[in-house]
């Protein structure tokens, strides 16, 4: 039985491996070894997720703590893949670090969860909806990191065209998953509650977040106001965090249908 009590025995090795990969990448060490360290960390982490899934007898996607597991997982995987593709060392270190931050939150502020899935959540849309969102959060998180680096470069007057290309690809892919998650949510809501969109606080904030990324996507089509355009990404990411975590604490969300446990 794998439960949260065993988490630390998976979390520590995974974090050690990730951090090792994220630091050694700056040395002359063989690239193959970096890949191995990173993949080993991911494998350890996957083992825990699979174990939880089996012992909970449902996908571990319901509580905050459980979704953070996926966030760490996707951050490490996507960070690794984009690093392989674009050869940016900082991408590997940053995504490793971010993945570790979410692991640490789960270690120090775990939320003890019941394994009971309420009837509205028992749907085939549940897993793809949540997976799609978490994937998009990870991609957009990576894009935000890239935007800070670009802002710095731009303030020195030399924006990096290759970095722009990476950022845009991350945002396009992240936004694609964001929309897919949203649309699946609509279909699911229609099935469960009779309406696909009811301007519930969580839905309202999802709308706000999507609007912010749309502004970035469209502003990037022209070259006007590059600094404002770049700053849209950190702003959009803050809005995304409000949608994901903050909504539960807003006065407007008391009685929201999307606040579980």
């Amino acid at each position: 039985m794998v439960t949260w009590n065993e988490f630390v025995w998976f979390a520590l090795p995974a974090m050690l491996l990730w951090i090792a990969a994220g630091t050694l990448v700056y040395t002359k060490i063989q690239r193959r070894l970096i890949d191995l360290l990173m993949l080993a960390g991911i494998a350890v982490f996957v083992l825990f997720i699979v174990g939880m899934w089996i012992s909970l007898e449902r996908p571990p996607m319901r509580t905050m703590g459980e979704t953070r597991l996926w966030y760490s997982f996707f951050l490490s995987v996507i960070g690794f893949l984009t690093y392989k593709n674009w050869k940016y060392n900082w991408l590997l270190s940053f995504s490793s670090l971010m993945a570790c931050v979410f692991v640490c939150i789960n270690l120090f502020k775990p939320e003890i969860h019941s394994k009971n899935l309420m009837p509205a959540l028992q749907s085939i849309w549940f897993v793809p909806h949540v997976t799609s969102y978490i994937l998009s959060y990870a991609l957009l998180g990576a894009a935000t990191i890239a935007s800070f680096i670009q802002i710095k470069k731009q303030s020195k007057g030399l924006a990096d065209q290759k970095l722009y290309q990476l950022m845009d690809n991350l945002v396009y892919a992240g936004f694609g998953f964001l929309m897919l998650g949203l649309l699946m949510g609509c279909v699911w809501a229609k099935e469960a509650w009779g309406h696909y969109w009811s301007w519930d606080p969580k839905e309202t904030w999802a709308f706000i977040t999507a609007a912010a990324y749309l502004m970035y996507i469209h502003m990037r089509l022209r070259r006007w106001h590059p600094t404002f355009t770049l700053w849209l990404l950190p702003i959009a990411f803050i809005l995304l965090m409000i949608t994901w975590i903050g909504v539960n604490y807003l006065p407007s969300a008391q009685g929201s249908i999307h606040v579980y446990s």
Binding site: S114, P119, D168, F175, M179, M215, H218
Partner: protein
């Protein structure tokens, strides 16, 4: 400003101006009345927007048309809606405004944003701008632009059908007692109406998850430990666990139990049966032990707790619902009849109505004598689904092709 080509300043000025005009209208005319848009009016408004878009797109070399359907206008409009969205996301949205509420936020429509003039005006202009853009790009059709068409046509359809179509939607709740047939429903204002659909509730069935155990302070009723209450999740299989200083182990768990005269429990599957558990508890510090049955009780059965010492006692939480099912027969005026087992996430279609499992008497839980169902009439839903499908296909394109556009030159390439 106001020198062609118009870009951001002019677009922002227009959006801002419309927000001001909308607010003035809101204050003097009250909220936008969506019942004005009942079919066929919404169809006519939609046709006008499409016609106007096509006409404007014919004049696509005109700088005003390029501005209306260009990137800066798109960004300004999306930005305007984003700001209204933030107001909406921070202010609790109310189904009913209290007549005595004279605050500025309420007067400006913040408490019912989707029916406020500023929101409706920006929404309509977005439909026109997006419509003109689509028409303009369709006039110079290129197959390579399929992702653009999927995203923008999908979104236009979705926005149009869900917004202008909203007034045609009808949602009612029906309460049916077990064994009864009902055709009266209630709207959001609590007014009763009669529908050409009747529903008979043959049976209401509910399954529950095994509940949890908690240790509470008998005086205050607070679950222990006070700051971070711990719970032991029960299961059909015996479990062990710890709460605070107590090690708990389950000796027997009965999901549907009825109390015997000697305060033990036996397995009986009958209405009013509740979970009961025989546990053994031991305090890790004092070595004190306790053993006995714990039961959460129901409207038909008393609860049972297990005292641990003078202060603390073990109690059972209310079980969470696993699924609830209404076994119903549905009748329509023309004599058609259907039978289904209605469940959350499994609605049932009759003619143009969808029937959803809605609720039950949560106090009585399993013993609820009625079930409530929501009846929804939504004639635009097909258009919404087509929009969702197109947009989903567009999202997949975004996923795998990323931004293929080369950096544009500084000029506006239209």
């Amino acid at each position: 400003m106001w020198q062609f080509p118009w870009r951001y300043p002019e677009s922002i000025a227009l959006v801002f101006g419309l927000l001001v005009v909308g607010s003035v209208l809101q204050i003097f005319a009250g909220p936008f009345d969506f019942t004005l848009l009942l079919w066929p009016v919404n169809g006519i408004v939609g046709a006008v927007i499409v016609l106007l878009s096509v006409l404007l797109a014919v004049k696509r070399k005109n700088p005003l048309v390029q501005w209306l359907s260009g990137v800066p206008m798109a960004v300004a409009l999306i930005g305007g809606l984003l700001i209204l969205g933030i107001f909406m996301g921070l202010t609790p949205q109310l189904a009913h405004i209290h007549p005595g509420d004279k605050s500025l936020g309420t007067a400006l429509g913040f408490r019912q944003m989707t029916t406020s003039w500023p929101f409706v005006i920006l929404y309509l202009l977005l439909l026109l701008s997006l419509g003109t853009l689509i028409a303009r790009r369709l006039f110079s059709f290129r197959k390579a632009d399929y992702a653009f068409y999927l995203n923008h046509i999908g979104l236009w359809l979705l926005l149009f059908a869900s917004g202008l179509g909203a007034s045609d939607m009808k949602r009612y709740v029906m309460y049916v007692r077990e064994g009864d047939t009902e055709w009266r429903v209630y709207n959001a204002d609590g007014e009763a109406l009669e529908l050409p659909i009747a529903i008979r509730l043959n049976d209401f069935i509910m399954e529950e998850y095994p509940p949890q155990l908690a240790v509470i302070d008998r005086q205050s009723g607070h679950a222990q430990p006070e700051q971070h209450p711990e719970y032991l999740q029960l299961d059909e299989k015996p479990v062990t666990g710890k709460i605070d200083a107590w090690d708990l182990s389950v000796e027997e768990y009965i999901h549907e139990a009825v109390r015997n005269s000697d305060s033990t429990y036996r397995r009986v599957a009958m209405p009013g049966a509740t979970p009961a558990v025989l546990i053994h508890a031991k305090n890790r510090h004092t070595g004190k032990t306790a053993q006995g049955w714990v039961c959460g009780g129901s409207t038909a059965q008393l609860l049972m707790t297990l005292p641990l010492d003078d202060t603390y006692t073990v109690v059972m939480t209310r079980p969470d619902p696993k699924r609830f099912i209404s076994d119903i027969d549905v009748f329509t005026e023309d004599g058609a009849q259907g039978h289904t087992r209605l469940e959350v996430n499994k609605p049932y279609r009759v003619k143009h109505w969808m029937i959803y499992q809605y609720g039950y008497d949560t106090e009585a839980g399993k013993l609820s004598s009625y079930s409530s169902m929501e009846l929804v009439y939504d004639p635009w839903v097909i258009a919404v689904y087509v929009g969702i499908l197109l947009l989903a296909a567009g999202s997949v394109c975004m996923l795998w092709m990323g931004n293929r556009r080369k950096e544009e030159s500084d000029g506006d390439v239209e």
